[in-house]
């Protein structure tokens, strides 16, 4: 009998896992609540350069291989002891193997004023429509302060606010408003980037772009009427337009036993095998798990490959490898690290920007036909392994 695998969530991780498994002959059911898959970095270009959202969205049914049983439904609860998944429609699924790839959920209510700020200005995290709302405000900001901040130091894609700062300062320059609008990047870190090694590389670039950086600024409350943001560290910032990255939490579903979730709702896994604690037939990949590495599409993709290999019977292990791109005007760099290796110094270059453009171009194909891209990605990740690049970096 073919093994029945249920995959929850058709984001980056879920699509790669489902498509790989079906090409190996598994009986795969994929559950996704939305009709469209969003290329999330695209929200930066929607919010800060006015791109059309359709460029970054594809119907989920066009991204799954024939043979994948795609269910449009919302996951409500999972019982790991009973091996069942309950859906909003009333359906119950059972499984031999379960892969949870539900991403993060956002909390706009823990920081007073945040929901109101988000409803007013939008942001570049929560969806294309919210990114469009932010673009409306950014593009009509003639003078004043554009504040980019975060409500918590732990959010997906650590360089996202840096990319937001680079893209918006470039846009404002093109519009001839560079001297009238100040872009302020307020970060909940000691340096301009969580890793000091990369901070040294990113800081001069931000300065060159004319971005004002404020460190040690974790948003505590927002006064939308008076346009002020207060930090936990006791400072305040005035703004004309602001986008605050929401607190990232684990997926909002009920799981039995409850003990597999940490206090923020992230699913506890073995960081190498990605097996959910205490269950060797359940995996959690990508943003929804508690692995001590950055939450990025690359991590979700690599995690999916590891889990599929394990289901196939190989002793594959997740290395915690990251490759977060930071794009600036015409150049880019990557934040490269793994469990075994702290972040190495990687300089900005035009070549890396070209690589990043190629990665973006390959995105849809790499979701639908991940097996075709495996060897290319493998070659790239081996070539840029932090140990191979060495302490001098890249």
């Amino acid at each position: 009998m073919t093994e029945k695998v249920v995959v929850l969530g058709a984001g980056t991780g879920g699509l790669v896992a489902a498509n790989l498994l079906v090409s190996h002959g598994y009986d795969v059911t994929l559950v996704e609540k939305k009709d469209y898959h969003l290329f999330q970095p695209g929200m930066l270009w929607i919010a800060f350069q006015g791109h059309d959202p359709s460029k970054y969205m594809r119907r989920v049914d066009t991204l799954v291989k024939p043979g994948v049983n795609l269910l449009k439904d919302t996951v409500e609860s999972i019982d790991l002891n009973e091996r069942t998944v309950k859906l909003e429609s009333g359906k119950t699924l059972d499984y031999d193997k379960l892969i949870i790839a539900l991403g993060v959920s956002y909390d706009y209510d823990s920081v007073p004023g945040h929901r109101q700020l988000w409803e007013t200005y939008g942001d570049y995290f929560s969806g294309p429509e919210h990114a469009q709302r932010l673009w409306k405000h950014v593009s009509s900001l003639r003078e004043g302060k554009l504040v980019l901040a975060a409500a918590d130091p732990l959010y997906k894609c650590p360089p996202a606010p840096h990319k937001a700062a680079f893209l918006s300062s470039y846009t404002l320059k093109k519009m001839g408003r560079k001297d009238k609008v100040e872009v302020i990047l307020a970060l909940p870190f000691i340096h301009a980037y969580p890793s000091e090694t990369m901070a040294k590389i990113v800081e001069p670039k931000l300065e060159e772009a004319g971005v004002t950086v404020m460190t040690m600024f974790t948003v505590e409350s927002i006064d939308v009427e008076n346009k002020k943001i207060y930090s936990m560290e006791g400072e305040e910032l005035e703004y004309d337009v602001a986008a605050v990255i929401p607190i990232n939490k684990g997926p909002q579903i009920e799981i039995t036993p409850d003990s597999v979730k940490d206090e923020d709702g992230f699913i506890k896994v073995n960081k190498y095998t990605l097996e959910v604690e205490g269950f060797d037939d359940v995996y959690a990949i990508g943003d929804c798990n508690n692995t001590p590495t950055s939450k990025t599409g690359v991590t979700a993709h690599l995690g999916a490959e590891v889990v599929v290999d394990r289901i196939l019977g190989y002793d594959a292990k997740f290395t915690g490898r990251t490759n977060c791109p930071i794009v600036a005007n015409g150049t880019a760099t990557f934040v490269i690290s793994s469990y075994e290796h702290p972040v190495i110094p990687v300089k900005f270059s035009k070549f890396k920007r070209m690589l990043e453009d190629l990665f973006i171009a390959a995105y849809w194909s790499s979701l639908r036909d991940p097996e075709k891209w495996r060897s290319v990605f493998k070659a790239y990740f081996e070539a840029t392994d932090p140990t191979k690049l060495g302490e001098s970096g890249w």
């Binding site: 469209y36 270059s349 070549f351 060897s375 290319v376 070539a383 690049l389």
Partner: protein, 121 residues
């Protein structure tokens, strides 16, 4: 988001003169590739297995570092090309030794030594 019938979209495109011109050029290209036998080669090269081998060969730590230095190398090559245009007198051994005091020459020599070392590895 609006749904568009891909076939209808293609038909509208076909009516576009710009597209028609591009398409006829593309056909010309394909014919030329076929006549020269290059098309067979391209087909063979784009077989997934061959592609994989090519990527495996091309994507290495060395090429990734090289890619990054291309910008700098090209600028250097520009300087070299400019230097080659300059009128120079033949230099004597003593002039060569004297020129080592020039910081640019000394630095260039240092680079040359580093290069020789890398070649000898």
């Amino acid at each position: 988001m609006s749904e568009r019938d891909p076939l209808a979209q293609l038909l509208t495109e076909l009516e576009n003169p710009e597209f028609q011109e591009a398409l006829s050029k593309l056909l010309e290209l394909v014919k030329n590739l076929e006549k020269s036998g290059l098309l067979d080669m391209l087909v063979a090269i784009t077989e997934p297995e061959v592609i994989n081998r090519i990527f495996d060969m091309v994507i290495t730590t060395g090429t990734m570092k090289l890619g990054d230095s291309i910008e700098g190398l090209l600028n250097k090559l520009g300087d070299v090309a400019e230097a080659l245009q300059e009128d120079v007198k033949p230099a004597s051994l003593s002039e060569l030794i004297a020129s080592l005091k020039d910081p640019e020459v000394a630095k260039g020599l240092g680079r040359l030594i580093a290069l020789l070392k890398a070649l000898g590895k």
